[in-house]
């Protein structure tokens, strides 16, 4: 316990230094901004900012990028409530009851509920990370290569299971990601793989270039195809204070949302989006009068808003303790750590306690900053909605290009980025989401190295993957996930969770 307090003290000591505080503020401000602006999401933003982090101190870089992620959850709900547009995919359900409240002249209450619920959830999630980080890391240190191999398999399959859309396509995209990660010189044998003799490819495909192209450029192409329409007819905010009645209805929903979000966030493939949908479904299910939902039920706003913020934060747990990113965005965080020369995993807590606890403490600090940023300053953010996409689109493209070029001043990198943009666009168009690809790309080398190492230790016997208890358990769980995916009945139910607003 004293240990825990000492760690927290260390973390806050790091998080409130002026430099880190500045980058935390920068991160959450950027996060709120892109959360409010439809048409650019946190993944694309983090990908775009990766090149900039080269020159930053490592702790500050991670604090800023993390801030973008959970900051976007706050911003996304603002757009959803005021103009009925999900600024972020995780705030799709917020539109339903949040906008209904706004139309009843209670936008201020809705915004306050969302922000306070998110803050509460963020606080609980931060405490949760502090409490479970140490024991989980201890478990992770006992992992051998075979166990890691099985953990990656389980993580990838579970991520596929929870993703929306066709699981077959998602598995294929993971495989494509692994395939792309193989490009370059094989670290074990020193042989070139799929380099076509191009010197630019000897070190493999640069993760940042891949991420900018696949997430940033392809998103712009996709938006331009669909046409991003926006009515700046924002609702008036009105009073911010929830009534006693509001509070009584919202608080239990906040508690449930926080619990659900914290749990789903830890699971691979979970995180913010899944959490908010699941929470909305839960609230409607247990409500005494479900017909209120869709007409401004405050529980339908408070639950999902808390859940998405809790999920956004607890999805850092597998990354920080096991070194396994739970979703595409966490894969980008792995990229950011690699850039700084840090290999994510259980060792980080021992070797870099300042970074580890500083990052965690910064999440709470960031949530506090967000509360201040979002409630009193809401008027400023609303004005952002007036920026037309025809200005945003060239600006984002500009950042893509200069970001890819500035990595190593290589023209080839910018061209690769353009290619990935086109590939990513066509894949999205045929229903293949890029997120599993990014996950596969990051986890591919881990998968291959641990498989080779595991087989080497067991002298070529595949039984090593089932005789080690941890590995065997994880593989058994993976098997169950596959069976569940193959069962069409469950598939249909899964669909319902994602379209909870269809009646």
């Amino acid at each position: 316990m004293t240990d825990l307090l000492a760690n927290i003290a260390l973390g806050f000591g790091v998080a409130v230094t002026p430099v880190n505080l500045f980058y935390c503020l920068l991160g959450v401000t950027l996060g709120t901004m892109i959360g409010i602006l439809p048409g650019i999401g946190p993944s694309a933003t983090v990908a775009l900012l990766l090149p900039i982090t080269y020159t930053m101190p490592d702790t500050a870089a991670l604090i800023m990028l993390a801030g973008i992620f959970y900051g976007a959850q706050y911003g996304g709900s603002t757009t959803a409530i005021l103009v009925n547009l999900p600024g972020e995919s995780s705030s799709v359900v917020t539109c339903i009851d949040g906008y209904a409240m706004a139309r009843q002249g209670r936008a201020g209450v809705a915004l306050a509920t969302a922000a306070l619920g998110s803050f509460f959830a963020g606080t609980v999630a931060t405490v949760l990370i502090v409490v479970v980080a140490k024991p989980l890391s201890a478990v992770a240190l006992a992992f051998g290569p075979a166990d890691y191999f099985s953990l990656v398999i389980f993580g990838l399959l579970f991520a596929v299971f929870l993703s929306s859309g066709s699981p077959v396509k998602a598995v294929g995209m993971v495989a494509f990601g692994i395939a792309l990660s193989l490009v370059g010189i094989d670290p074990t044998s020193g042989e070139q793989r799929f380099t076509f003799g191009m010197a630019e490819l000897f070190d493999g495909i640069d993760f940042v270039v891949l991420a900018i192209g696949l997430l940033g450029v392809s998103e712009i192409l996709f938006n331009l195809q669909q046409g991003v329409e926006r009515d700046a007819g924002a609702a008036k905010t009105g009073s911010l204070m929830p009534t006693r009645q509001d509070f009584k209805q919202a608080f239990p929903a906040v508690l449930r949302g926080t619990a659900l979000g914290s749990f789903l966030g830890v699971l691979p493939g979970g995180g913010a989006i899944m959490s908010s949908f699941a929470s909305y479904a839960l609230e409607r299910k247990i409500a005494k009068d479900p017909s209120r939902f869709g007409k401004g039920a405050i529980e339908g706003l408070a639950g999902p808003e808390s859940a998405n913020n809790a999920g956004a934060q607890t999805s850092f747990i597998p990354l920080l303790t096991l070194g396994i990113p739970a979703n595409g965005l966490m894969a980008l965080m792995v990229g950011a750590m690699m850039i700084q020369g840090i290999t994510p995993g259980p060792e980080v807590m021992q070797s870099r306690p300042d970074l580890f606890w500083g990052l965690i403490a910064s999440m709470w600090v960031g949530n506090l900053l967000l509360l201040v940023l979002n409630l009193p300053l809401i008027g400023i953010w609303v004005r952002l909605l007036g920026i037309p996409y025809r200005f945003l689109c060239p600006a984002i493209l500009m950042f893509c290009a200069i970001g890819a070029y500035g990595l190593s001043y290589s023209v080839a990198d910018v061209l690769f980025c353009a290619v990935f943009g086109i590939v990513g666009f066509f894949l999205r168009k045929i229903g293949c989401e890029p997120a599993p690809l990014v996950l596969g790309f990051v986890l591919g080398p881990l998968l291959e190295q641990n498989m080779r190492l595991g087989l080497l230790i067991s002298q070529g016997s595949f039984s090593t993957f089932v005789t080690h208890p941890i590995s065997a358990t994880l593989l058994a769980l993976s098997g169950m996930v596959v069976i569940m995916m193959a069962m069409p009945a469950i598939m249909r139910r899964r669909e319902v969770v994602f379209q909870g607003d269809d009646d």
């Binding site: 900039i52 020159t55 066709s166 077959v168 396509k169 598995v171 294929g172 495989a175 494509f176 692994i178 395939a179 193989l182 094989d186 074990t188 044998s189 042989e191 793989r193 799929f194 450029v217 712009i220 192409l221 331009l224 195809q225 996409y389 025809r390 200005f391 689109c393 060239p394 600006a395 493209l397 500009m398 893509c400 290009a401 200069i402 070029y405 500035g406 001043y409 023209v411 910018v414 061209l415 980025c417 353009a418 943009g421 086109i422 666009f425 894949l427 168009k429 045929i430 229903g431 293949c432 998968l447 291959e448 498989m451 080779r452 087989l455 080497l456 002298q459 070529g460 016997s461 595949f462």
Partner: protein, 152 residues
């Protein structure tokens, strides 16, 4: 989902399947010269072959799903060509940044991006270019100290 009129059109699943098959074939050919190694010591060709086999199976499954199944996935519609000018802008930036410097390359990118969005208003494009180019110079060159040549 079920809104297809003719039976011969390409669907999202068939195209995805075909894409996976192409990648699988590429992996197979690329990995052929690499050593598979043994189970005891898997070589550099081991993983590519496993992935190729997996993607081959998934590709076939996706194609069969639409050829044999009752409900088919969305029918492919050709995308509009104009938005691809945005990508042309990035390519233009890449090709011009070394010979002509950042300012010219960025201007070309912004103009192409504006055309990609839709109709352009010359004054607006000029103003936007000026703002964006100055902002980028301040952030990347002045702030982050990147060595990017501004002019030829």
């Amino acid at each position: 989902m079920a809104e297809h009129k003719t039976g011969s059109k390409l669907t999202a699943n068939i195209l995805s399947g075909a894409f996976f098959l192409v990648v699988a074939a590429g992996l197979y050919y690329g990995a052929r010269p690499l050593s598979m190694g043994t189970n005891f010591q898997p070589g550099p060709g081991y993983m590519p072959m496993v992935i190729a086999a997996l993607m081959f199976a998934l590709g076939i499954a996706l194609i069969l799903q639409d050829l044999l199944g009752k409900t088919r996935s969305e029918v492919w519609e050709a995308p509009k060509l104009r938005p691809f000018l945005a990508v042309a802008g990035i390519v233009g930036f890449a090709l011009l940044i070394e010979p002509l410097g950042f300012v010219a390359a960025a201007f070309v990118l912004i103009v192409l991006a504006c055309i990609a969005y839709g109709r352009i208003r010359p004054v607006e494009v000029l103003l936007l270019s000026a703002v964006l180019i100055i902002a980028c110079i301040l952030i990347f060159v002045v702030g982050l100290g990147q060595r990017i040549a501004l002019l030829p």
